[in-house]
Amino acid sequence: MSSSAPASRRNSAISNKSTSTTTPDKPTPTHLDLRTLRYVSPPDDNLCCPICHSPFLDPIQTRCRHTFCSDCIAEALKNSETCPIDRKPITDEGLSPAPILIANMVNDLVVYCPNAENGCTETVPRHLVEGHVRETCGWVQVECGVGGCKEMVRRNETSMECLHRLVKCEFCLEEVRRMDLDIHYDTCAGISTDCPHCLTDYKRSDWKSHVQSCPEASIPCSSSVYGCPTILPRREMARHESTCSFVHLTPVFRRHESQISELALENRMLRRRLDLLYPRATQPESNTNSEEPQGPSVLDEQTYHILSEQEHLRTDLDRLSESMVALEMKHTMHFINENMRVKEEMVAMRTAINGVRMQMHWLLNMRAQAPFQPMMPMMGMGVMQQQAQVVAQGGTTTQGGETVQRRHSEHQNVKL
């Protein structure tokens, strides 16, 4: 909005010539800067102003028969009272409207609606675009009007019903604006959803616990770890498990499992002891190797004692590391559960933020209608010039001598 300020000011200054009213910087809802229009097909160079390079707006002819936009030539004459093309002297009196043929040709150029980026797909001849925006364009913000409501809505969204009044959500009894109701339904805690498995409705708040126990959800047989391939809906699982031979054998499997692991541990222990008693030269173990040269016969008793002690420690270590692994597993599970909970919370937050964003958007739209301030572009300009001056100063300081400084003042126009 503020970015088009300089151009629009110039525009209104010119158009005010005819109406002789002075209301600069006061954009009406139908205010439109014709300079920002986009043309459907690239305009012919002969119809483009040599100054702004866009199709003529309100074309003016000079006495030397060159054509410019009325704004452009007026601006150019402020700097130099010559024709920008051939530099022949001209004054305001030397200007006359261009032939009506040229005016008609540029007025008939087809342009996109200025609201194209908001969604309007209309293309109209340029001289009709103001009417389109004022009267028919569906993407223009207009007052809601229902029951004196002053809120702004897109013209194609106006209806007999005011979308801004507060209504009560029939599911959770919260108060929501009519236009936000659809979004609210997405997150409303009172509303019900279909369970994907059993297709019955559940309140969103109850839904999670239901999914954990839904009779229609497919689950694997509890003995799937022992090899049962069956996957059935939960309600049928009990029947299957009462007949499943894997389930019947599960206690046996369990017992065998623990026995096997005990035996494996014992076996490992025995093997180590065996290795100590009959050290194998081909398979060296650091401890036995270091003992060997001392003569096992002398230190036999002592060595045996130390080695058995070591064996005990090793067994302890094994046990400890096993419980470590179990602990770690438990922690991982805990983390995963926690994570899921946080994720769910984030989704809820995000939807809430979206709701706020909608309202923000709407508020901004409303503010956009308020009178705009020309401050921003001016500030930006100041920074530019400052930059340019800094460059120039940096340049002069690196140079000395009177002659140079004199030249500097002579050629100030060129300095950067």
Binding site: S3, S4, A5, P6, A7, R35, T36, P50, I51, C52, H53, S54, C72, E75, A76, K78, N79, S80, T82, P84, I85, R87, P377, G380, M381, M384, Q385, A388, G395, T396, Q399, T403, V404, R407, H411, N413, V414, K415, L416
Partner: protein, 157 residues
């Protein structure tokens, strides 16, 4: 700040500019500031060199001329030690019908036809008038020393 459509159009046209030995690209995200490269014209002491310039479009462009300055050191009677250029269209003779492209072509032409009678660098102009051949030799040497080579530029591309 609004950027007039004209500047966008000129930028677009400059991007497609080829075979004239001038090149202007937007510097960073400031759409009014350009990095310029001009090839020394053939048959001049500046032939074979690529000269870097900076170009800035003031707020009221095209009503006032762009500000242009040589960044590459150059030995020329109309260009001073700071790279400032003495060219009428950049000052009093500016016309809003001129464009970045025409300005750069004029600067290129100025390299081909120095004008020591309207000097900006007095000492250079003096040399130019006294002994044109020696001055041109210096210009040629400076070109070799300070300007990028045309071939380097092609490699970059």
């Amino acid at each position: 700040m609004s950027l007039p459509k004209r500047i966008l159009k000129e930028t677009e046209r400059l991007r497609n500019e080829k075979d004239t030995g001038i090149k202007a690209t937007i510097h960073g995200d400031n759409l009014r500031y350009f990095d310029v490269e001009i090839n020394g014209p053939e048959g001049s002491p500046y032939e074979g060199g690529v000269f870097e310039l900076e170009l800035f479009l003031p707020e009221d462009y095209p009503m006032s001329p762009p500000k242009v300055r040589f960044l590459t050191k150059i030995y020329h009677p109309n260009i001073d030690r700071l790279g400032r250029i003495c060219l009428d269209i950049l000052k009093n003779n500016w016309s809003p019908a001129l464009q970045i492209r025409t300005v750069l072509l004029s600067i290129q032409a100025l390299l081909g036809a120095p004008n020591p009678d309207d000097p900006l660098a007095n000492d250079v102009a003096q040399k130019w008038k006294e002994d044109e051949n020696a001055a041109k030799a210096t210009a040629r040497q400076w070109t070799k020393e300070y300007a990028k080579k045309v071939s380097d530029q092609k490699e970059e591309a």
